[in-house]
């Protein structure tokens, strides 16, 4: 399943790996702490791949 998700090769489609994030006792849902971590990972992925560098900070 994860392989199927990773195999999608379309421009501007990226993949964030949530494996390893802490799960609740039900083994299905993320805890509040891991959701915060995932939110940060999503922001980082967005900024890295899709957010143009502000003028003046370009390297």
């Amino acid at each position: 399943m994860r392989e199927a998700q990773k195999a999608i090769d379309i421009p501007n489609v990226i993949y964030v790996d949530a494996k390893g994030l802490q799960l609740k006792e039900d083994n299905l849902h993320l805890t509040t702490e891991s959701q915060v971590q995932l939110g940060r990972m999503l922001a980082e992925a967005y900024l890295t791949h899709f957010h143009a560098s502000p003028i003046g900070i370009q390297t």
């Binding site: 399943m1 994860r2 199927a4 998700q5 990773k6 195999a7 999608i8 379309i10 421009p11 501007n12 489609v13 990226i14 993949y15 964030v16 790996d17 949530a18 494996k19 994030l21 799960l23 609740k24 083994n27 299905l28 849902h29 993320l30 805890t31 509040t32 702490e33 891991s34 959701q35 915060v36 971590q37 995932l38 939110g39 940060r40 999503l42 922001a43 980082e44 992925a45 967005y46 900024l47 791949h49 899709f50 957010h51």
Partner: protein
């Protein structure tokens, strides 16, 4: 005393669609009581509200965003903390615009329910269109997608997932008229093997119970 009549330009708003199933909706902090499940209300600073973060409510009106973000969207289950507020709070200082969240995720849904023509898909497209309609300062930036656990139960569903997801991406981009809309997929946290193991255990337990039952029947006859 002079009054300042200068009108400030309306801030820009960057729009993000949040979709998928329960882990995008948010179950963080959901606790079980005797007869129901509810959110414990605990927030870390990273997922606290901020005046620059808004969400499109089920009634298609913008309002200040706060957890649970999916409260009026994923209505069949108790909603708790998802990734959206932490995402918006991490993004906000870097983009220096407002962040507009469009929650669409519904717990327990399989990818076939997000096919074009299905209620969930059509509602997501409608909400996405509405979020930018008539607001020249609003710009659709990305779709965040976290779904797939419901498609991991059988090998058939899992093997069809890639094509179904590619179709979904194509359809969303076409229907929103944004051919290169950025899409961020979150991988499954569980694996197919996990469900297979559970299934093997379950079948094992059933078989064991059946043999116990047979032995029981035999001993009664004896």
């Amino acid at each position: 005393m002079e009054t300042n009549t200068l009108t400030l330009p309306k801030p820009k708003r960057q729009i993000f669609i949040l979709s998928g199933q329960s882990n995008m909706s948010g179950r963080g902090g959901i606790v079980r009581a005797a007869d129901r499940k509810y959110w414990d209300g605990l927030l870390s600073p990273e997922c606290s509200p901020h005046p620059s973060i808004l969400r499109l409510a089920a009634n298609l009106q913008w309002e200040p965003a706060k957890e649970p973000i999916h409260i009026d969207i994923d209505t069949r289950k108790a909603c708790g903390v998802g990734p959206a507020m932490a995402f918006a709070n991490a993004l906000r200082p870097r983009v220096s615009d407002e962040v507009g969240l469009v929650p669409c995720a519904v717990g327990g849904t399989a990818i076939r329910e997000w096919a074009r023509g299905e209620e969930l898909y059509e509602n997501m497209v409608k909400r996405a269109k509405e979020s930018v309609k008539g607001h020249e300062n609003c710009e659709m930036k990305a779709l965040l997608w976290f779904q797939g656990e419901s498609d991991s139960n059988t090998e058939e569903d899992a093997s069809a997932y890639k094509v179904n997801m590619e179709t979904l991406i194509h359809n969303v981009r076409q229907d929103l008229n944004l051919p290169s809309l950025p899409i961020i997929q979150v991988s499954n946290i569980t694996t197919f093997m996990y469900f297979r193991i559970i299934r093997v255990y379950f079948i094992g337990i059933v078989m064991m119970m059946m043999s116990v039952y047979r032995v029981g029947c035999l001993s009664i006859r004896i």
